[in-house]
């Protein structure tokens, strides 16, 4: 066994970490989050220049990474700065494009270089966390398709140049074997995007598709084969947000520990109270549990154990991540309730990640269904 990252990956982590630490202060993060785009395009192209987007994709796809551990190290560092640049959306939709035709792969290359932006328009108002629930339809028309439907909480859906849209083809029944994916320019006629902020300072959109005409080569992969692509996309996305949560957890714990050593009440640092010491110890323990679960999920991204390990990780994030977020606030006292003091923003991100790609209960249910003991 070897639990060390390769040198390349360590360098990648160091570089991403340094960028976030030194060039991503919380004030400019909030500034950018409030801007029209919800992030800084300048920062995005700097990060692209550092190779942080390329690291998420394999060489075949025009990147230089794409393994579970690559995704994990990048997103862990992003989580430490609560980075709002659209890494997640481009990982999701970009992963779908790795299954695409040559033109679609060229789009992905432009994403990796930082020129184009994508979003993954899959979930719908009634789908909750069910990946196979697609009501949007794609009717054949001439030698193309016409798309109709509504997409919900599309992460970074407002700034994307292209959308990857899921829809049911063939008879338009609601059937998992009829789900297909399409690459659609975001400015196509009939696409209406309603953009809004999320509680934790990111951006999402409700997207309505009304008689959106696309050509046959907009199809990604084969018709009716969308669901297995979606599973790969969401597995990577789930790993990514979980690693991001780990990064946010590390900062929340560091800040709390630091505060326990400096804040004095009753004449002593509050860290002298054993009531707080033991809970701090539990937080550290759970952080390491989460780190191990990230390793398990990363290492199994391409094995038959993928789904079990992804669900185990996400369940733990929903459970222990919540405990750490809430305890970080509680042990700080009032100061953590303020906008100005950063720990609350980390807590918000950790908790909101529970709402992406399935919460603690959803993944517990998956684990039971998969029926494999660890």
């Amino acid at each position: 066994m070897d639990f060390n990252h390769t040198d390349d990956r360590r360098m990648l982590a160091d570089m991403a970490g340094r960028f976030v630490r030194e060039q991503y202060p919380m004030e400019s993060r909030h500034e950018a989050a409030k801007s029209d785009d919800g992030f800084s395009r300048e920062t995005w192209s700097q990060m692209a220049g550092l190779g942080l987007i390329g690291a998420l994709f394999s060489e075949d796809a025009g990147g230089f990474g794409g393994a579970g551990f690559d995704i994990a190290v990048v997103f862990e560092e992003l989580g430490k700065g609560l980075v709002t640049e659209p890494f997640l959306a481009n990982l999701l939709a970009g992963t779908a494009l790795t299954y695409g035709n040559e033109t679609q792969k060229t789009v992905l290359e432009n994403v990796i270089s930082g020129e184009s932006l994508l979003a993954f328009a899959h979930s719908e108002p009634a789908s909750r966390y069910d990946l196979a629930h697609v009501e949007t339809t794609a009717k054949t028309s001439g030698d193309g398709y016409v798309l109709n439907g509504n997409k919900a909480v599309v992460i970074s859906g407002d700034t994307a140049n292209y959308l990857v849209v899921s829809a049911v083809t063939e008879g338009n029944e609601q059937n998992e074997e009829h789900i297909s994916l399409f690459l659609v320019p975001a400015n196509s006629d009939g696409i209406h995007v309603r953009s809004y902020p999320t509680v934790d300072g990111y951006r999402a959109a409700e997207i309505a598709l009304k008689d959106v005409a696309v050509s046959a080569d907009a199809l990604i992969g084969a018709e009716g084969q969308g669901l297995s692509i979606i599973h790969d996309v969401i597995a990577r996305g789930t790993l990514a947000v979980s690693a991001e949560a780990l990064g946010a957890i590390e900062i929340a714990i560091d800040m709390t520990l630091d505060y326990l050593k400096t804040r004095k009440q009753f004449g002593v640092p509050i860290g002298k109270f054993q009531a707080l010491q033991h809970r701090m110890a539990d937080m550290m323990t759970e952080r390491e549990q989460i780190r191990s679960a990230v390793i398990n999920a990363s290492g199994n991204l391409n094995t038959p154990e993928r789904d079990w390990n992804i669900s185990a990780l996400k369940n733990l994030i929903g459970r222990s991540g919540r405990m750490i977020a809430e305890e970080s606030i509680q042990m700080h006292g009032g100061i953590a309730m303020t906008w100005e003091y950063a720990v609350g923003h980390f807590a918000k991100r950790i908790i909101m990640i529970d709402h992406m790609f399935g919460d603690v209960d959803h993944h517990m249910e998956q684990i039971i269904k998969l029926g494999r003991a660890a």
Partner: protein, 398 residues
């Protein structure tokens, strides 16, 4: 044992229920249920409707214009009001300052301030905490120095809830540095229009303006605004904490929160069925109901004991801990009931007059911020850690 309210208590409950149905404006009930922002005038409106009926100060003794409700009646009133989605009453004047004035204030203070509280002429805020004095409140530093028939106040208060609406603040201040910390503290009333008082907003983590810093620079306060005796302020503040048993469990708020959660869980669909029927969700909900049902009785036991004349004890601390935990678990499960629609947050949609289509279900927008905002309840009013210290020291002698 008899688990039912007495006949007269039941009649009282029916009376309050009728009143809420008849007099609580629908607009205010809707806003409260939907977690919309209540404006200052919304709160004043409700305050004055209750005052007109005599219910606002029902729990005050008759000699001060109240109805002399006992603790059980007061509990019934609180439960019925929250169940009907009545806006929460701002407690600072009504429930915090008033009892202190009744017990320790001068006759002049009582006859001047108490009617003004009831009539809504003054909006009070609470100036206890300071940046360096939170859980260790007795270490507070803000000073009050006697200068002829005035005190001169210097220092800073913080976390002052709704101080932006207030015209009056009651403060704990240091009048002596001799002896034990607790023995140099006084309780004083300050008109916030006095020169040298400055209120600065603190924005909370969900972006709302609910609390403030209040700065005092050479603020001259008439000596007659001192409550009781100099250097006895700690006793008065403690009296308040110990006697303020009613409402601390927040049973009414928990019951209405649970109703709202069930309403949401009936509407949210999972695998083609209401979320309420999902075994994972249902078991979490059932656990909360078990806790709440027991706590409701714990609360009534403590309340009945108070009416029977038992001295207040650390039971209050138990109600504070369990009550906040239950409400926080309701907030937590409610956010999870929403699935991905917990994420969108349009702040303006919490203000009256917002007319755009909601994003997702119409109840979704405030749920996550409400979850975050309610993390405060285990921090303020004596943090849950401090409450556990009280239980283990006072009750168990550890």
């Amino acid at each position: 044992m008899d688990l039912n309210y007495t006949d007269s208590e039941q009649a009282f409950q029916a009376e309050i229920r009728e009143f809420m149905a008849a007099k609580l404006p629908q607009r205010l009930a809707d806003k409260t249920r939907d977690h919309k922002r209540l404006t200052k005038s919304d709160m004043e409106e409700w305050h004055s409707i209750l005052n007109e009926a005599g219910y606002l100060t029902g729990h005050w003794p008759e000699q001060f214009g109240g109805k002399g409700w006992n603790a059980i009646e007061r509990t019934i009133f609180d439960e019925e009001m929250t169940a009907a989605n009545g806006p929460r009453l701002v407690p600072f004047g009504l429930n915090m300052l008033a009892p202190v004035l009744m017990a320790f204030g001068s006759p002049e203070q009582q006859s001047h301030y108490l009617p003004r509280i009831a009539n809504g002429d003054d909006w009070w805020c609470q100036g206890y905490s300071e940046p360096g004095a939170g859980s260790d409140l007795a270490s507070l530093k803000m000073s009050a120095e006697r200068d002829g028939d005035h005190y001169i106040l210097n220092g800073q208060k913080t976390w002052t809830t709704l101080g932006q609406h207030a015209n009056m603040i009651f403060c704990l201040v240091r009048t002596s540095k001799e002896g034990k910390q607790q023995e140099g503290i006084s309780f004083i009333l300050v008109d916030m229009d006095t020169p040298g008082v400055e209120v600065r907003p603190i924005i909370l983590l969900e972006g709302t303006h609910e609390v403030n810093e209040v700065w005092f620079t050479d603020v001259r306060v008439p000596a007659e605004n001192l409550v009781g005796e100099e250097n006895k302020g700690w006793t008065y503040a403690k009296y308040l904490l110990v006697h303020e048993r009613s409402g601390i469990a927040g049973v009414g708020a928990a019951l209405s929160g649970l109703e709202h959660l069930k309403h949401i869980a009936k509407d949210q669909m999972k695998d083609g069925k209401p979320l309420l029927d999902d075994p994972f969700f249902a078991s979490r909900l059932a656990e909360i109901e078990v806790d709440l049902s027991a706590m409701r009785t714990s609360n009534l036991r403590v309340t009945q004991a108070a009416d029977d004349g038992a001295p207040p004890g650390p039971e209050t601390s138990m109600l504070k801990i369990k009550g906040t935990e239950i409400r926080q678990s309701i907030n937590d499960l409610t956010r999870r009931a929403l699935g991905p629609y917990a994420m969108p947050f349009v702040s303006e949609a919490l203000d009256a007059g917002y007319n755009e289509e909601p994003i997702g279900p119409d109840y979704a927008n405030p749920i996550a911020v409400d979850y975050f905002n309610h993390r405060k309840t285990s921090i303020y009013g004596g943090s849950n850690e401090v409450q556990r210290n009280i239980i283990s020291k006072m009750m168990m002698g550890l």
